[in-house]
């Protein structure tokens, strides 16, 4: 177990290093100059050069990278070129919003996706199954940003039940939650459609197995067989997909926060890329990567918790 943990941690660190190198390189290759973005296109070349020197942009790329790593390792992710505040501060301000959105999105995805998938499997071949699969096919086909716009048109512009976008801040929790309903729906709908399909096919596979017949022969109710015998055995593929969906939901916040004008990390990363705000982008990408790698690690732990036969076979 300790060996596994050590190997995992090393993989974690290596992934983050690789990600940060790539981001650094890409941001340098991309056209655009932070000095121009900050000072405007009317600025003089002297002023820009002075600013570049001040930001340390006149030094070679590799030196700047090493410098960044050195400070990042100590928890200092640099100062945003654009906002002129420490990156850490930018992130901690916006983290709660994105985290809430992502968590709500994942919760809805898991609950709705697994429930619909199990219902479809239980009603295999009936109208209910057919209707759920049609919904999920549509869910998979629709892009999230387009769905967001439709949701806004219907529930905000048309019915006026919910705000079309923006965020009132956490001082009013109810209002805050209200403004997250549409973004969460937009984020979770596609993912739950995917999960419903995976759940259905996995459950159908399990239903054919002998122990399900044993459970039925024991006189257990249909619901109990479904929940206590079929679902746990169908979980391994489901958990695999859920792990991948964490990545999809975290990156999905970039699109959703922009459509709904939510001041979260997704919107921040979008702005920072546009502004060539290297340090902010760097920190955010590393943070997103860390979340995804952690999710994958949790999935691997979940496998062993689900299936006792896998114990000792984990690598």
């Amino acid at each position: 177990m300790q060996v596994i943990l050590l190997r995992r941690t090393m993989g974690f660190v290596l992934t983050l290093i690789a990600v940060s190198v790539i981001v650094f390189a890409v941001m340098n290759v991309l056209p655009g100059d932070p000095a121009i973005t900050i000072l405007g296109i009317d600025s003089t070349e002297d002023a820009r050069a002075a600013l570049r020197a001040e930001l340390g942009l006149d030094r070679p790329v590799w030196l700047r990278y090493l410098d960044w790593v050195w400070h990042a390792a100590q928890g200092d992710f640099g100062t945003s070129y654009f906002f002129r505040v420490p990156v850490t501060e930018l992130i901690t301000e916006r983290l709660p919003l994105t985290l809430s959105l992502a968590l709500a999105g994942m919760t809805v995805t898991v609950v709705v996706g697994i429930t619909l998938g199990m219902i479809a499997a239980a009603r295999h071949g009936t109208f209910g199954d057919w209707a759920i699969m049609l919904f999920s096919q549509m869910g998979i086909a629709v892009p999230a940003f387009w769905l967001s716009i439709l949701l806004v048109l219907l529930f905000a512009v048309g019915l006026r039940w919910l705000p079309p976008g923006g965020f009132p801040g956490w001082d009013e929790p109810l209002l805050a939650a209200r403004s997250l309903i549409l973004p969460t729906t937009a984020l979770a709908l596609v993912q739950s459609a995917v999960l419903a399909r995976v759940t259905r096919s996995s459950a159908l596979e399990v239903m054919r197995l002998d122990f399900v017949r044993t459970a039925r022969a024991t006189g257990l109710s249909r619901w109990r067989v479904l929940r206590r015998h079929i679902l746990p055995n169908a979980l391994v593929p489901i958990v695999t997909i859920v792990g991948m969906q964490v990545a999809a939901v975290v990156t999905g916040t970039i699109v959703i926060e922009n459509v709904f004008y939510l001041p979260g990390l997704g919107r921040l990363i979008f702005q920072s890329i546009a502004n060539r705000d290297l340090f902010t982008v760097q920190a955010l990408v590393v943070l997103f990567a860390a979340i995804v790698v952690t999710a994958n690690f949790l999935v691997d732990i979940a496998y062993v918790l689900i299936d006792p036969r896998l114990k000792g076979r984990m690598t």
Binding site: D210, R216, A217, T218, G219, L220, S221, N233, P308
Partner: protein, 317 residues
């Protein structure tokens, strides 16, 4: 215990079972033999109300005084485990791989009999003891893949017995097991049936296992019972040509026999929809009469409690 009258199971126009009659009294042990495809498993499932959705069943069934004729799934669920229980062929596959075997056996006790956790646990240990599982306390916490084949089958028997059923249907319970383990399991089933006064339906393609387990034997072919009677009578003087063929096709132990080719029944079991309208065995039968393929032979007594369904019986013999 069980009274089944004229049970017929259809898949579309094909008949998987035709006109099965069956009576079992408490403690009686009935063996059902036949090749794969003879309908013996289908018969077991029909007594549990567990036929596939596509199957249509007719006929009357009474189980322990309850009329199950045309019963809905909910009524079947109410008697499963409590009146009639079933064990299956492949014990590893038949156990939920993610649950400790103790919890699996506890489930019907908690669900059907409303036992508390502690009471159910105590009862499971008792059942494990009764079915000859060694070190029940340790086994309780183990997963199916950690047990041996024989132990797994004992766990399944414990599960089936949990709610004290009046009838136990064992569908090929020993087929997947080693020969010596299989013997112990059949002996266990006999002992349990005797001690509990429980009727046992022992389904197997293995004549020797059936002979060891059952008092009476029913031979199935093409979805029908073609011959039935006390084990020794049927085995020593088989009257139906199919039973005769089945007995001849068994390897006999002893010098001189080893190099001989075993006689076989010519042909294979036809597909359900290709079965003859008359005697199901016509087409493969060595002593077939002209009207065998079209006229269904009635079951006729050929000895004490021994009868067979063949046009040859009572005719020119």
């Amino acid at each position: 215990m069980i009274e089944a009258n004229d049970i017929t199971v259809r898949f579309g126009t094909a008949e998987a079972l035709r006109g099965i009659n069956l009576t079992l009294s408490p403690g009686q042990r009935l063996g059902i033999v036949g090749e794969s495809g003879s309908g013996k498993s289908m018969l077991g499932l029909s007594l549990m109300g567990m036929l596939p959705d596509a199957a249509g069943m007719s006929g009357q069934i009474r189980i322990d005084g309850t009329d199950m004729t045309g019963a809905k799934i909910a009524s079947w669920r109410a008697i499963r485990a409590r009146k009639v229980a079933m064990i299956f062929q492949e014990p590893l596959a038949a156990l939920n791989p993610l649950r400790r075997v103790g919890n699996t056996v506890m489930e019907p006790l908690r669900q059907h009999l409303g036992h508390s956790k502690d009471a159910a646990r105590a009862r499971v240990l008792q059942l494990f003891e009764e079915t000859g599982i060694q070190d029940p306390v340790a086994k309780f916490r183990q997963f199916p893949h950690e047990l041996s084949g024989g132990q797994r089958q004992r766990v399944l028997i414990s599960l089936a017995l949990a709610c004290n059923p009046k009838v136990l249907i064992a569908d090929e319970p020993t087929t997947a097991l080693d020969a010596h383990v299989a013997l112990r399991i059949t002996d266990l089933l006999v002992r349990l049936a005797e001690e509990r006064g429980m009727a046992l339906v022992f389904i197997s393609h293995d004549l020797a296992a059936v002979a060891r387990t059952a008092q009476d034997i029913a031979v199935m072919y093409g979805g029908e019972i073609v011959e039935r009677g006390p084990v020794h009578a049927v085995l020593s003087s088989p009257h139906h040509p199919y039973t005769q063929g089945l007995l001849l096709a068994r390897p006999a132990l002893g010098a001189g026999h080893l190099r001989e080719r075993l006689p076989v029944i010519p042909g294979t079991v036809p597909a359900m929809r290709d079965l003859a309208v008359g005697c199901r065995f016509s087409g493969r039968c060595a002593v077939e009469l002209p009207h065998c393929a079209t006229e269904r032979p009635a079951s006729r007594p050929v000895g004490a409690h021994h009868d067979a369904a063949c046009h040859r019986i009572g005719a020119a013999t």
